[in-house]
Amino acid sequence: MEHPLDKGLQNALGVYYLLVAVLNFGFAAWWFYAAKKKAPALVWTAVSGVFLIHALLYLAHSGPVLSRSIRDFTTQFMGLYGGQMGPILYVTLSIVGFVLLLYFRRFFVQPNVAWTLLQLSLLAAGWAMTDSEFQKIILKPDNVPIPMLIYSVGFFTWAALYRAVQNDDRIARGEPVLEKLEDEKVLVWPDLVYTELIAMIIATFVLIIWAVLLKAPLEQPATSAKAPNPSKAPWYFLGLQEMLVYYDPWMAGVVLPTMIIIGLIAIPYIDFNRRGNGYFSFAERKFAVSIFMFGFVVLWVTLIVLGTFLRGPNWNFFGPFEYWDPHKVLPLNNVNLSQLFWLNLCHMPLDDFKVRFGDFLGPILRELPGILLVLLYMLALPPLLARTVMRGFFIKMGFVRFIVLVTLMQFMAALPIKMVLRWAINLKYIVAIPEIFFNI
């Protein structure tokens, strides 16, 4: 029987696995020669062997194919709950993973553990590539930066935590941090300028090669009559686009991005912690590091990945092995809070408000529950926090800085909160006054 994968792909996968095998072999060699530990060296040689077998199989054009049942299962599983299971799972896993990473950072930063995770992801990626739908999405020239983004963000997160854990230990032991050990000043020439020059050249080279190998993907000419489906923002804005699922364009496109920029500008002014400057540390800046990483890694990077790989035509969620069928329709039966409150709870028709209270007061009264809730969230939460869990912050930061910090955090938290509300009670808008394009 003919192999289901075409030869070109098999060759490519063979080369891929070969590279991964060499990588592992190098890692084993490092253990053996540099770290002088035989056990891990042996293990990684064995792993390298596993990849080598993969490589050989694919080069012989008879490599394994991810089983149909696994692929179908993922598709079906993610399609549960009216197609919401996918995003729920994805976001939940990324948040849980994030929390675990921080909590068990000592475990995760061990080279062997991190390397294992890396190898598992490479193996999974290799297997997934045998699926044609997955392949199509990964190999789309537009999407190439994203795997690079995933692995580079992963690496830098690991590197930072690795140093942070080491430094924390050193601080606990009363030793100077690692960065202090290399506190020497260096020369502008050659240490700075020369390396910059080299970096420039290499970057240019990489860009040229990239441009030659992956030609600019030319699609159809722009027309006002027809939008491509899916219509996607440039990859770096896909996180923002994902917010459009949950928020009105006005919020997702204007207010929240503005808050992000303001927040980033505000960081130096809010940050009152004098420790942890100029060196990696987690224990000394638990709050700052966690919040920033949550904002950047979870709410920005993972949403970009979600938007790139898992959002298809009509911005529907598609499992990684699912065909992007433009005809797929998911139930959209989201309701506004006002409807939940007045109609479902109090059995009052919504259209009645305008009739009874006029065009101005009517909508406001109708949306009163939502407005109250939002006001409660925005106005009542900061004092509450100041008195309870964040009492220390309030005392140290003073009123203004505290309020700024809490408000920024509230905006950041607004997205996961809205996600949960959407998934839990199909909430569309908390406040919905389409009459004046004001929806929250």
Binding site: K185, V186, Y194, I202, F205, I208, I209, V212, T223, A225
Partner: protein
């Protein structure tokens, strides 16, 4: 910490890293440049250079002169040169001497001249000064000086003249002693050089090109990577088309850049044809290999049966290949010779303009595959496209405007090429990684559909028929014809207008009622809107308004169920038994709908019959509804003014009632229109007066106004009644009428004994009277009943084979069914517009008795091979179930309502309650469901809903759907529809599971035949792979193809409610007929094949509908004559004129080869004898051929093409020419082969062939009459005449009248049939008249058809006077004058006697008048009259009377009298024609009295001179006045051409001439019959 000297990183390592990164950067940059160098089009351009070189080389070698000839020519040149030099040498010393003398004299002359000029100027200045000087002294001084100067000047002048003379002398001497003696040798030398040049010019030119095209160092250098950015030999070539913008979805119109020529480099070079390019690759080895292959293949075939044809083809191929091998092998030798020749010439010191050393030493065999050859090849139709002199030059049109695709792309895939078939698709995929590019919305049209684009500018479509019958886009035209024929526009709007601009062909339905039935004012109003002018197309199906008189419910049900089962070649499509409603599909997918189709059919049949019956009784639903509304509102109106809404309702209903009357009884249009106006007026008066009364506070209306109102109140009622009465159809049972709408008696059925005679007569009439021009009938295909076979295959109108089963009226009166059947057929034959006012069936002029016989025969053809059961009769439950589906969709009806009205549980059906009814609009269909509901009511309701859903009214006039709008998607711009907006659904799976997918449809060896594997397999019909792929890839053409093939398959596997199912019916376009002896499988395969081709033709048309507004200058805007031709063609098609008449001759284009020319010369020589007899009319296309458009080919127009293989060495196509052919023979002498010659054409030379258009019926009759009349031309003379040259023949006014109401022209006793009267509008008739005159102007400018109005000078006195003077002169010259006078003497006397007698007879009356006159003035007047009369009698009685007659004769009579003798000569015209009252026993031609009104004078002259030349066949009319013999001088003195003209002159003024004194008496004499 302080900075240290220590660097942070190892400097050396950094250096290494830097070095490595620099090297990488360098490599990366080089790679980038390589990428640019490696671009596809650059490769192609580099290779093309080699192709150019090779082709030049090939052409150089083809033009290679023989070495000896060149040597000889060269020797001649040298010899001549030597001779010249020798002669020159002899004179050299003398020449030098003379030249020296000459130069000296010349010098002397010139210096003298300089002095003279100087002196002259000085003198002039002196004179001027003298004139200005005032002092006498000064004057004197100056005077002296001037005189002195003058003297000197004169002296100089003398010397100058002398010097001049001397110089002249010397010049003369030189001329005499040197130049003249050398002249001879000089000329010799020039001639020799010219000769050499002639011999080598082409050769040299190509040799030079070869050298130039070879790659040289600088070319290679310039095309190196990086350097090729500057002035490279390879660069993008493009055409910029700022006006032909690309429309990116309404976003922006972007100028078009077509870069196709960057790769298609030979596209505009005529010599880059496929064959030449192929030859460049055919090296001796390859040629031999191909030959071996062909031979092996032939051997293989020899064993097989039935492959004779293929073997024959193979043999031809092998012979050709053998030649190729020989040619290929000889190439190297030729190259060597070429080099030798050139080297020799170079050595001889000749300046060649290039270095022959640079020629290649070895023949350049290229390696080009099929694709590369196609890429480099020239456009196959340079005469039409690309070439700068063609109608579509590349610079103006570019490429993508026709071909589509992405013109700005520079590589194969991005250009969006589209393969023609699956084979090519596969090839491209392999070779170029080609895949369908869905990012470009308009991929290139595959070669199948290239013709589609013609529609962008050729909106009339028939403008693609270029000259004669030659069609330039046959597939598109066929598609257009099919769309017209099958009436696609009935459901799908095909409007050629977008916001007032023409954007495509306009095929819209005509308004209902048709314009012709409206008042002129309304017609003008309808035509006034430039944005939406009225459509012109009639519905293609028959009217169903009177269906009950024609057939019955049972038949209608069977018919709707499966029309093709009753009539296999019907145009009516299938609505049932399709992929979404056949019983088995429904059984699986929706069991509850399984019985819906049958139920629906029963409903439709019931509705149609019920409504048509209602129509006949004046009680159809629409009429009743409108009547009700009008009556109700009018009652209100009588009492008081109507509210705005009610008034509108009344007006609307009145208008609709009027229209209904016009649709039903258009014959009464005038009366109906009058009544509509009156009714409207009365209504308006009432409304106005009521309003006025309401508005006036005091008093109210004046008594007059009150009276007026009272009158109007009466009027509205009576007018309504009258309108209803006039608009009421008269049933056939009450009255049948003839063509003039006079009632006629239905002939009685023949008695049994007589029966067979009548039936036989009926069949004969059916065969001969032209029915077979449009219809076919199985019954005529075999001889029988004493009538010969006439196997006609016409399908313009329905096949009537099974007519007897269809004509079975539902309503038969007491006279019985048989009578009703005959009645319908007889009425239809006598005047079809009674039954169907918009039919295209003409009035056949049969008598009622004849029509009765035809009916008898038609009804006697019993149908035995059709026993369809038809659909099942629905039960009440079925009806309820389906009615519930529709009722649930009715506005305002809920499920509970449905349950209440039509409970599903069965039992009695309560129906809609009375109260509820009142709330329904007056024309709601649900009104019919008023309780209690019967089955009939349910059927009616279902039928109406179904007709509404299926759109039956797109093709038929269905009662109750007068205002319905077409139901289909508009096709105006379907060709550019976004494929994403097409609902493909699961058609892909349907295609893959329901068809046998075949890679290729056409046999690659013979594309006219199906491929070997094109047949059904496992009961699955064949399906071409390219379309299966197109469906899978969601491409437009895939959708369209499948939509036409199985229109409902897009419902496949979908759960759908009944009313949501697709509705488009399934058409069959090809009408394939089984051939004798064809196996069932072969027939089916052929059927599928022909169907696929026809389908593709329809697709070609539809894909061309893109509604792109083109700039005006790109639209085809023919001149008025051409436009008239184009439009006229459509009308000819509309009425199938070509069914009977031959309209245009065929066109045959062939290459001029010496052999072919020889045969033509022979033909010319054999024709010489006829030329002697001929008269010659210069400029007329029948005598003088036009210049040919291309130098290397000839174009012949002719009829009766026949392959003749007995009279010639090899089979020749012989045509009878209709136009003279001008050609230069092998000797270069230009000859004119006149029309009516047999032109033989070598079949191998034939380039294009388009056979004559029309005359199918005549051909059929020739076949039919063959047993009794073997001479085809004799049959032709009694059949419909050819219309070739009709425009130059007939007068437009006459033709116009004739078309609208044709009287008999030729004796009906002689002719087989008579021109029928078509249901034609004046516009149509005018279009035809214009067509014929325009065609004449275009094809025969020399015929003198200059305007639409005919000038007949022969009716003017001055003309006759001139002619008579000439003639009398001639008589005197010929000494016949006296003789004639003597001859006339008794006639004059007789005339005088008669005149006197007449005058005297009127005397008493005149005298009486004087007496009777009452007053003085009158008396005086009468008296004067009487005096004049008396005076006259006196005058006539005197000698002067006779004298005056003689003078009259001499001034105006002599010519006419003698000419009249010719006309009435028993041996001439009277042999066949009646002339006015002079009648003969059995006339064959038209009465010549018609000529004056009917024919154009020029044509009559040419016709009498030589009838043969002007007709498509040899006419019965003989050449009475051959040019080579002088005859009839006793009748008319003059040359033969004078006699011809004389006869013509008389014919053009016959009534006057015949009444002249001499002629009146002669009439009797001639008619008396003594010779």
């Amino acid at each position: 910490m302080a900075a240290t000297d220590q660097t942070y990183r190892n400097q050396k390592t950094l250096d290494i890293v830097f070095a490595v990164s620099c090297i990488l950067m360098l490599l990366g940059t080089l790679w980038m440049f390589w990428q640019d160098y490696d671009r596809q089009f650059k490769h192609i351009q580099r290779q093309f250079r080699d192709v150019e070189e090779a082709l030049s080389e090939y052409q150089m070698l083809a033009a290679l002169p023989s070495q000896e000839q060149v040597a000889e020519a060269r020797n001649k040149v040298t010899a001549a040169k030597k001779e010249y030099e020798a002669a020159h040498n002899k004179l050299l010393s003398r020449e030098r001497e003379l030249m020296a003398k000459h130069d000296l004299a010349d010098f002397a002359y010139r210096s003298l001249k300089a002095d003279f000029d100087s002196k002259t100027s000085l003198y002039n200045i002196a004179v001027e000064h003298l004139g200005k000087a005032e002092e006498p002294k000064r004057q004197k001084e100056l005077q002296e000086e001037a005189e002195k100067l003058y003297k000197e000047m004169s002296e100089l002048q003398d010397r100058l003249i002398k010097a001049q003379d001397e110089l002249d002398q010397i010049k003369q001497q030189i001329n005499k002693e040197v130049t003249q003696p050398l002249e001879g040798p000089q000329q010799q030398f020039n001639r020799a050089e010219e000769e050499l040049k002639k011999l080598t010019a082409n050769f040299d030119r190509y040799a030079k090109a070869t050298v130039q095209k070879r790659w040289k160092w600088d070319d290679i250098f310039r095309s190196l990577p990086i350097l090729d950015a500057f002035e490279s030999p390879t660069k993008i070539k493009q055409v910029w088309l700022p006006e032909l913008t690309i429309d990116y979805g309404g976003f922006k119109d972007v100028p078009r850049f077509d870069r196709c020529i960057s790769c298609h480099l030979g596209i505009d070079r005529a010599n880059f044809d496929h064959a030449s390019l192929k030859r460049l690759t055919l090296s001796p080895e390859l040629a031999r290999k191909e030959l071996e292959k062909a031979e092996a293949r032939k051997k293989e075939l020899e064993g097989k049966e039935g492959s004779e044809e293929q073997i024959k083809r193979m043999e031809g191929q092998i012979a050709q290949l053998k030649e190729e091998v020989k040619r290929s092998e000889g190439m190297q030798k030729r190259l060597d010779i070429a080099r030798e020749i050139l080297e020799a010439r170079k050595a001889a010191g000749e300046n060649l303009g290039f270095d022959p050393d640079k020629l290649p030493t070895k023949v350049n065999w290229l390696k080009l595959d099929k694709g590369q050859i196609a890429m480099y090849a020239a456009h196959p139709r340079l005469d039409l496209f690309v070439d700068a002199n063609s109608p579509h030059p590349m610079e103006k049109f570019g490429c993508t405007i026709c071909h589509q695709g992405q013109g700005s792309a520079t590589d194969f895939v991005n250009a969006a090429h589209t393969p023609a078939d699956a084979g090519q698709e596969e090839e491209w995929h392999k070779e170029y990684g080609w895949a369908h590019n869905h990012f470009w919305d308009f991929p290139m049209l595959s070669s199948r559909f290239t013709e589609s684009s013609c529609l962008k500018c050729h909106h009339e479509v028939t403008d693609l028929i270029r000259y004669g019958s030659k069609t330039e886009a046959p597939k598109l035209l066929r598609g257009y014809e099919l769309v017209r024929e099958y009436g696609c526009f009935g459901c799908h709007e095909i409007a050629g207008i977008k916001s007032g601009r023409e954007v495509g062909p306009d095929l819209r339905l005509e308004p209902q009622p048709a314009l012709a039935y409206l008042t002129p004012a309304e017609q003008d109003k309808a035509k006034a809107d430039p944005l939406n002018p009225p459509g012109t197309y009639r519905k293609v199906g028959p009217s169903l308004r009177r269906l009950a008189e024609k057939t019955n419910q049972d038949w209608v049900r069977k018919w709707i169920y499966a029309p093709r089962s009753f009539r296999p070649d019907t145009k009516m499509p299938h609505f049932y038994g399709l992929s979404n409603n056949s019983p088995d599909v429904l059984h699986q997918a929706a069991p509850e709908q399984e019985r819906f189709p049958d139920t629906e059919i029963a409903g439709i049949a019931y509705y149609l019959l019920a409504e048509s019956k209602g129509n006949l009784e004046g009680k159809d639903t629409t009429r009743e509804t409108l009547k009700g509304v009008i009556a109700k509102r009018q009652q209100q109106l009588v009492k008081g003014p109507l509210a705005e809404r009610e008034w509108k309702e009344l007006q609307d209903a009145s208008r609709r009632l009027g229209e209904l009357a016009l649709i039903a009884v258009p014959a009464q249009a005038d009366e109906i229109n009058r009544l509509i106006v009156l009714l409207k007026q009365a209504q308006e008066v009432l409304q106005e007066l009521h309003k006025k009364e309401a508005n006036q506070k005091d008093g109210g209306l004046s008594p007059g106004e009150q009276e007026e109102r009272k009158q109007a109140a009466q009027d509205v009622e009576t007018r309504l009644k009258e309108l209803l009465a006039v608009g009421q159809i008269t049933p056939l049972a009450k009255r049948i009428s003839d063509e003039e709408d006079k009632a006629v008696e239905l002939p009685k059925p023949p008695a049994d004994a007589e029966r067979e005679k009548h039936v036989s007569n009926g069949r004969r009439l059916f065969t001969e009277k032209g029915c077979l021009a449009c219809h076919s009938h199985e019954g005529t295909t075999k001889p029988g009943l004493g009538v010969a076979a006439a196997p006609g295959e016409a399908n313009f109108a329905p096949n009537l084979s099974r007519l007897a089963a269809k004509i079975a009226p539902e309503i038969a009166d007491e006279k019985g069914m048989e009578e009703a059947k005959r009645r319908w057929i007889v009425q239809w034959l006598l005047n079809p517009t009674v039954y169907h006012p918009r039919t295209r069936m003409p009035i056949t002029h049969l008598t009622p008795a004849e029509a009765g016989d035809v009916a008898e025969w038609l009804l006697s053809q019993k149908v035995t091979d059709w026993d369809d059961k038809g659909p099942n009769e629905p039960t009440k439950e079925d009806l309820v179930a389906l009615a519930r589906v529709y009722l649930a969709k009715a506005p305002g009806f809920t499920r509970a309502d449905v349950e209440a009205v039509l409970p599903a549980t069965g039992g009695d059906l309560p129906g809609i309650a009375k109260e509820r009814l009142e709330n329904l609009p007056p024309d709601a269909d649900e009104r019919k469901l008023e309780g209690p509901v019967t089955e009939d009511k349910l059927k009616w309701y279902i039928g109406r809903k179904a007709i509404n859903r299926l759109g039956c009214f797109g093709c038929h006039d269905v009662p109750g759907f007068e205002t319905a709008k077409p139901i289909g998607t508009a096709l105006n711009d379907w060709g550019k529809k976004d494929p994403e907006r097409l609902a493909f659904e699961d058609a892909d799976i349907f295609v893959r599971t329901h068809y046998h997918i075949v890679p290729l449809r056409n046999d690659p060896n013979d594309p006219k035949k199906p491929a070997a594997d094109w047949h059904a397999k496992d009961n699955k019909p064949p399906y071409e792979k390219i379309y299966a792929d197109a469906v899978q890839e969601h491409r437009r053409e895939g959708f369209l193809h499948q939509k036409l093939m199985e229109p409902r398959s897009f419902d496949f596997d979908r759960k759908l409610a009944w009313e949501d199912r697709l509705r488009m019916p399934q058409f069959r376009f090809a009408r394939t007929k089984k051939r004798d002896g064809e196996s069932e499988e072969a027939y089916q395969a052929r059927q599928e094949f022909e169907e696929a081709e026809a389908r593709e033709a329809v697709m070609t048309f539809i894909l061309g509908l893109v509604a792109e507004p083109m700039p005006l200058k790109y639209l085809n805007q023919p001149n008025p004559d051409r436009l008239a031709e184009i439009k006229g063609h459509q009308v000819l098609d509309k009425f199938n004129c070509a069914g009977c008449h031959q309209v245009r001759p065929g066109v045959y284009e062939f290459k001029t080869t010496p052999e072919g020319l020889k045969v033509l010369e022979d033909s010319y020589n054999t024709n010489r004898s006829s030329l002697k007899k001929d008269h010659f009319f210069p400029g007329h296309s029948a005598w003088e051929g036009v210049a040919q458009t291309a130098a290397d080919r000839l174009r012949v127009f002719g009829t009766q093409p026949k392959v003749n293989d007995t009279d010639f060495e090899r089979p020749m196509l012989v045509v009878r020419s209709t136009d003279a052919l001008r050609f230069a023979g092998t000797d270069g002498v230009v000859r004119n082969l006149p029309a009516a010659s047999n032109v033989p054409i070598n079949l191998d030379d034939l380039i294009a062939r388009a056979d004559p258009w029309g005359g199918t019926f005549v051909d059929l009759m020739i076949q039919y009459r063959k047993p009794t009349e073997p001479d085809a031309d004799k049959v032709r003379s009694v059949a419909p005449p050819p219309l070739i040259r009709e425009g130059e023949r007939v007068q437009p006014n006459w033709l116009y009248g004739f078309l609208l109401n044709p009287p008999p022209i030729r004796p009906t006793t002689w002719m087989m049939l008579r021109m029928p009267k078509f249901n034609m509008s004046p516009e149509d008739a005018r279009a035809l008249v214009n067509y014929f005159s325009s065609v004449s102007r275009l094809t025969n400018p020399g015929a003198g058809v200059r305007s639409e109005y005919v000038n007949v000078p022969e009716r003017e006195e001055i003309y006759w006077r001139t002619r008579t003077a000439e003639y009398v002169q001639r008589l005197k010259e010929q000494k016949k004058y006296e003789e004639r006078v003597q001859e006339m003497e008794p006639i004059w006397q007789d005339a005088l006697r008669r005149r006197i007698a007449e005058a005297e007879a009127s005397l008493p009356a005149a005298e009486e008048a004087v007496k009777q006159a009452k007053d003085a003035d009158a008396k005086k007047q009468k008296q004067a009259d009487l005096d004049v009369l008396k005076e006259r009698i006196k005058f006539w009685k005197s000698d002067r009377g006779k004298e005056q007659l003689r003078k009259e004769w001499e001034e105006t009579g002599a010519y006419a009298t003698d000419a009249y003798k010719l006309l009435t000569d028993r041996n001439l015209c009277l042999q066949c024609h009646n002339v006015g009252d002079v009648v003969i026993a059995s006339p064959q031609g038209p009465n010549l009295a018609l000529t004056a009104e009917r024919l154009r004078p020029e044509w009559v002259k040419e016709w009498i001179a030589n009838p043969d030349r002007l007709f498509g066949y040899k006419p019965a009319m003989p050449q009475n006045f051959p040019n080579d013999t002088l005859q009839y001088q006793d009748r008319f003195v003059g040359k033969t051409i004078d006699q011809v003209i004389a006869v013509r002159d008389i014919l053009m003024d016959l009534s006057r001439v015949a009444a002249m004194p001499g002629n009146r008496s002669r009439t009797a004499l001639a008619a008396g019959g003594s010779k």
